[in-house]
Amino acid sequence: MWIDNYFTINRKSGIENADIYDVELNPDSEIYRGHFPGEPVSPGVCSIGMIVACASRSIGSPLEIRKISRCRFLSVISPQNRQDLRIRIELTDAILADEKQGKMYQIEASIKYKELVCLSLKGELAERPGKA
């Protein structure tokens, strides 16, 4: 899967209720072969995927997006600016959903490149579904 070599977490820290991940993009990711040829730009969904991966690490089990009430893409992220990316994640206590869906978490997250906010997201995550 694309996320496996898309980025690395260089440092994890915390401020108040939030987890902070300093991350670095891998410019050799297969994603850039197709997005776009000769003009690598990080797809918005891959930035969302990084947030989900960091949130999964915060919780300690794989999570999946269920809802996004709002996600704004404010500046383009590209592998040319692969360092100095900081992901901020705030997860609230598990919401008890029905048994089929498992545990759910509310998330507020952002991605910054240096001081520039590139993305802000508010939504809900659930434990990743298993094989049918």
Binding site: M1, W2, E30, I31, R33, G34, H35, F36, P37, E39, V41, P43, G44, V45, C46, I48, G49, V52, E64, I65, R66, K67, I68, S69, R70, C71, R72, F73, V76, G123, R128, P129, G130, K131, A132
Partner: protein, 151 residues
């Protein structure tokens, strides 16, 4: 049943994405303001893990469906197909993840168009084979509103 206009390789005439990121394989005959696309989820898809197609894959499929619509409209005006980016996602909901072997079908509806910013509504359905008529009678597995910015 809706007629298929473009398939697989031909889709590249509508969008700027290339393998392995392409997440649509069918473009149906539109009924403006609605446009219809499809994707057969194959095991090698890079947005799949253990046979489950991720939410990120569904969102990207919706974005590329919108991009294909914009490409189709540009081609109709004899203009070049331009890249577009997601500016904003609102009210995205995924009821269930598609799985490998599923055919994902998506309806894109243009809600507004101001300069180079297009607001669409996207609804995705899992169907047994590419037929939009089946999709409209079942419940969507995912939906959202999306703002696209043309480069």
């Amino acid at each position: 049943m809706r007629a298929i206009l473009l398939r697989e390789e031909q889709i590249k005439s509508l969008i700027c994405q290339r393998e392995p990121v392409i997440l649509i394989d069918t473009f149906f005959k539109p009924a403006d303001p609605e446009y219809y696309t499809g994707l057969k989820i194959l095991p090698g898809n890079i947005f799949c893990r253990e046979g489950i197609f991720s939410a990120e894959g569904v969102i990207e499929h919706m974005a590329q469906s919108s991009a294909a619509m914009l490409g189709y409209l540009a081609a109709g005006r004899n203009e070049q197909v331009k890249t577009s980016y997601i500016g904003e996602i609102r009210d995205f909901e995924l009821v269930d993840n598609p799985r490998t072997g599923d055919f994902l079908e998506t309806i894109i509806e243009i809600l507004s168009e101001v300069m180079d910013v297009i607001l669409v509504r996207a609804e995705s359905y899992v169907v047994s084979e590419p037929v939009v008529s089946e999709a409209v009678v079942s419940k969507p597995i995912a939906s959202c509103k999306m703002k696209l910015v043309i480069n």
